[in-house]
Symmetry: C2
Subunit: 312 residues, 2 copies
């Protein structure tokens, strides 16, 4: 469907607030194209260096374009969002931002990688001399305004969505979000060119792009949490050569996740000679955290799957 | 490689104990075929009914065949285990066992499904009138004796492996386990015809089968936790039609996992008319728990991926 509306990227907001004035009102069934600013809020560019990470203004982080008022939407309804297509910009960044990320206690220094990729072919993007990362553009932040008044941080996702960073919210996926306020008040941003399950270092391939969507209102379809449907397989761009997998074993899932990622960083540094922080950022953009078992009391297994195609 | 040795299934033990006498001593490089008893310890059969779940003797649960003493293995070494092939039996069972499983508080009554499948074609196995589950045989319990003396429960996995229930420990995978005792003392059992990441109801398609393996000793390759390499893609038998995905959003990964699985049970019961416990068992044998993001403080997202091919 051709988008009936375009929302330009200067129509963005920081944080969620159901008092934000809509920039567009649409009927159910409408198609919209949304431009986004990258998650640094325009503070980083293809020319940025690691020094720019240390001076990031966090009050500008993760702008989202919107909000869109969906006519007739009421609390208790569900908004069905079809992610039709992505027009990527061809550049992106991945950073280790001190204080942020699964292993923030172990990686205290800023780091930055600037990516360049072909917007037509979307061929795997070069990661220095080490390998190539397959791409799959998606929207990291897709959400609605929460019922609770006031301004809420953009960082945590909520039951109305938001900064979910689910790497399969890509072209063809259909997302269902519970509505808490009249008009739903939809916004989107934080587009990524690639990310693994977990986004373990805290950033993906952060890359501005335009996103085409359609909206449909599902009346009275009460939903506890977001759900979605993928149009087809989700890892075919990654899985052809299989995986290296590390694990964490123990009674706490968070500790298991940290152990599994630490094990993969050790493996990648030993096998490929990269610095630990380089391995950490690479894990974030293409490795997947899975819960292999969560029932063999009292020890669970969290596994980290790294796709071997990156090096082949 | 043709197996040089066969260990029959009566050579099994319950629990881990480094005082168990080896049933076989091999050199690094040897190939072995291992017969297994199903995880009920032979208490269930293709003729069992749900009444048999209530009377299960837990002292017989999860026998493992072994132990095998690997000549020259010392603490600090690593045992490399290549899972060469599986000869499945053609039958299996999945149960809800009261007190066991991710949602044990919500599913208090026993339930049982008996599976039948073709051992040659390994075609997807019929789940009543609802659909067909793609199969991938693997070993749920693969481990070594721990250093700590005494008998240890077979249920929890440890850093030396054990009841890991990692569904990608299938044909072609190469597993690396840290060795804690002289001879490593390897045992294997709990073979499964299919399971999703998480094994959420606590059982998979529990199915006795013979497993062919080769063993190689890696001297001095100290390892914190198990790791493995898969020979190729791990979900191609499942992913062709995409996924239905439910999520849990919040500050605790365990709660998120429970919410995501509960959401999928609600969806499957609404869309396919199956009883909640039937949906729960189906989720266990083919749905996957993934950690979509673990960095957007303070709320993480756990997602449950259910393959749509089951119904198509």
């Amino acid at each position: 469907m051709e988008p009936g509306y375009t929302i330009h990227k200067h129509h963005h907001h920081i944080g969620w607030d159901n008092a934000n004035a809509p920039v567009l009102t649409i009927a159910s069934g409408a198609a919209v194209e949304i431009e986004t600013v990258d998650s640094s809020g325009g503070q980083l560019s293809p020319d940025s260096s690691v020094a720019d990470i240390a001076t990031l203004d966090f009050d500008m982080i993760n702008p989202v374009t919107g909000p869109i008022f969906i006519d007739g939407a009421r609390p208790g309804d569900v908004l069905q969002i079809t992610l039709e297509s992505f027009k990527p910009s061809g550049w992106g960044w991945t950073a280790n931002i001190p204080g942020f990320g699964l292993l923030a206690d172990q990686f205290e220094d800023p780091a930055l990688h600037i990516w360049s990729y072909d917007t037509q072919s979307l061929a795997p993007a070069l990661y220095g001399k080490y390998g190539r990362v397959p791409l799959k553009p998606f929207a990291g932040t897709v959400g609605l305004a929460p019922a609770e008044p006031g301004t809420h941080s953009i960082v945590p996702p909520r039951r109305v969505g938001g900064n979910m960073d689910i790497r399969d919210l890509a072209a063809g996926s259909v997302l269902y979000l519970p509505i808490e306020v009249d008009g739903a008040l939809f916004s989107l941003g934080d587009t990524h060119a690639a990310q693994g399950d977990g986004e373990v270092c805290g950033t993906a391939i952060e890359s501005p792009m335009d996103v085409a969507l359609t909206f449909d209102l599902v009346k009275g379809a009460d939903l506890a949490f977001p759900r979605f449907t993928t149009a087809g397989p989700v890892t075919r761009h990654l899985d052809e050569k299989g995986y290296e997998v590390t694990t964490g074993v123990g009674p706490d899932l968070m500790t298991g996740a940290r152990d599994a990622v630490s094990g993969m960083i050790d493996l990648l540094t030993a096998q490929h000679g990269m610095a630990p922080v380089e391995a950490y950022m690479l894990c974030s953009v293409c490795g997947d955290l899975r819960i292999s078992e969560i029932v063999d009391q009292p020890n669970w297994i969290v596994s980290f799957y790294f796709p071997r195609i990156v090096f082949e």
